[in-house]
Structure formats: C-alpha cells, structure tokens
Amino acid sequence: MPSIDLYLKNFYKSGDDIWFERIYSHFIDKLYRYFLFRTTSREVAEDLAGDALVKIYKNLRNTKLNEKSFFVWMYKIAKNLLIDYYRKSDKDRGVDFENIKDGNLKDNNFFDISPFLKKELSFENDKLINSLNKLTRLQKDVLMLKFVEDLDYRTIAKIFGKRQNTIRGIVFRALSKLREDLI
C-alpha cells in the first residue's frame, strides 16, 4: 500500500475527494478501534468515528500535514470528541462533567470489555485482555498506539505531549507488567 504521505500530497495539490478516500482507507480502522476500546459500544464507536471523519474532512484542506503530523492531528480530534462524548453522557447521568479533564478520561472503560471482545469481535485472548486491564490508561493507550496502530515513538510522544524517551520507558514498564502478569 503506498504511503499516506503521497495521498496527502495529491490531496493538497488537486483537492480531489478521490485522494481523501485513499487517506481515509488508511486511518478509519485506527479511528474505529480508538473509539471502540474506549466506549465498548460498537454503535457509539461508529457514531464517533463518523463524527471524527466529518471533522477531518472539513478541516484537512486548511492544514499542511505529513503522515506523522496527520496521525497526531487525527488522534487529537478523536480525543476531543471522546471528551465531549463523556461530558454529554455524564451530564445525562447527572455527573459533574466540569471535573472530567483530558488527563482523567475514564480509566475503567479501556479494555474492560473482555466479554464484548469475545462475543462481538471474536477476540479470544482473555489472559491478555485481563492483564491489559491492570495497566494504567496511559500505558494502555501507548501500547495500543505502538503495537496495534504501529505508530513510531516520535508520533506517540507528540500525541501525548511527552518526550520520546518517556514513551520508551512507558512501553517498557507496560510490557514488564504484562510479562509478570502473563508468565
């Protein structure tokens, strides 16, 4: 598959939607998984991914991104949508949404979905899911971006506003925890 960089260049050059559709095919799986593991609902994940796509489509023309900066930008859009979603749902339940900040997005939602994964997504590795649930939200996020979404340390560091070495340390500590738990 050609690099997303090429599609971005062509999109900026011609503005044709055909290039946006090729860019979209590169990121839609990532976007969907991001929302799925944080909301544990296929419907909500689909809605949020759809909303994110609209935002990306509306704003991409006004940017000048390459592959790495695109993913940083995309995950920032996704994170903001997720915060809005939690605020709205907590408000509906009467929770003081003012206290929900970027740093304390619901920790228990992420990967706390073993039956869901098994039932709806046929993902059978219970042990891994249970061990992942013991990690902090940041550790889970970083592991997902590094090994599931294949982003490099530099991009992940930019997404979280941390240094690359900090991210390397987080990856090692998270893997060590999983190793202790699994073996």
Partner: protein, 230 residues
Amino acid sequence: MTQKYNNKKIIIECLELLDKGYDLKYCLRKYKGHEKQIRKYFSIVKDLKEIRKIKPPADFKANVINKTYNNIGKRYKVKPFKKLLKPAIIFISIFLLFIFSSTGIIYASQESIPGEALYTVKRGTEDFQLLLYPENKEARLHFKFLNRRLEEAEILLSQETPKKENVNMLINEISKGYQNCKQHSCFMGNEEEIITKGINNINNKYQNKYGQKIQFKQQGNSNNKKSIQN
C-alpha cells in the same frame, strides 16, 4: 537494579531494531544470553499485534464516507476539464513559443543572402508559400521571388570577396526564376524589360568582378537564354 536496567536497555533497543526493519533473530543474535527474556517480551508484542484483527464492519466502512459527504452536503470533485487544464496550458505555451520563435526566425531570414545560415529558411518558406498559394496567384509569387534573387545577387556582387559558388548558384536561380516567369506568364506591362535590365546589370557586375560573362546553364529553350544574355 543493574539486571533490570540491562533488561530495559536490551528490550528498548530490540524494539528500535524491529522498527528499523530487523527481525527478531537478529536481536537474539545481538544479545546472546538474553534470548529467554527477549522471547518473553516479544511474545507479548506479538499478542498485542493480534488486536489489529479487530476492524470496523464492512458495511460501516462502506457507508461512513458517503454519510460524511451527505453530512457536509457537497463533494469536491476535480472536473475532467480542470484535470486537463494544466497539461493544456503547458501544451499551448509550448505551441505558442514554437510559433513565435519560428515566426521570428522566418522574419529574420527575409534579409539573408546565399551563404548565410538563415538563407535555407528563407528559401524553405518560399517553397512553402508556393505550395499554399492558389494557382492563379502563383505567377505573381514567381515574379516576386525572381526580384528577390536579383536583389540578393546585387548585394552579393557588391561585397568585396563574395564566394563564387554562391554567386553562381544565385545566377542559376535567377535563370530558373526567369524561365518560370516566362512559363507562368507572370510579367505584366514592362516588367520583363525591368527584369532584363536587372539581369544585365548583374551580368556587368559579374564581368567586372570575375572578368568573364555569366555562363547560364542550358535550360528550357535557347531563346530564353539569349534574352537573358542580351
């Protein structure tokens, strides 16, 4: 503490190597004695990568992009005309450049005389003009060209040391041109007289320069030849 630090260093380095495209075997070879530790970490990484298999349903993937377009209410498609605009502009520019540069060359060549680089362009243009001109007007063109040859011969012979072969070539052309004019009946009024005077003038200049009379090549009927020599 040191053991843990070493483990961290090795695992982080191995992950970097994998990012750079090396395989696990390379890493195991590089850190001999740590194979067990490395394998444990990398089996977890392998399991984590399995999560990639979780993908959005096919119908979602197919519909979400159209929903996005509907939501925004417009699509931006580059029209075929717009796609062709750039190559068309390039083509037209090259074409115009070619036309203008060739027009410039043709214009510049009009003042050239035999022996000059642009003279062939001048003659080529004349042949092309003869091809394009309607037959009924061709006669006037022959007359015009004969006049040009005479002018060229005068210029050439007024030079201090013109190349004799160029002069002879021109004299031949004048002879041919004169006969062509006769054939196409292109002389009107006293034009033939004027041309004959011009030829005689050239003949004199030639004689002054080279000490001999012009030897016209034998073409057409001999009467024509005589008339030129007279």
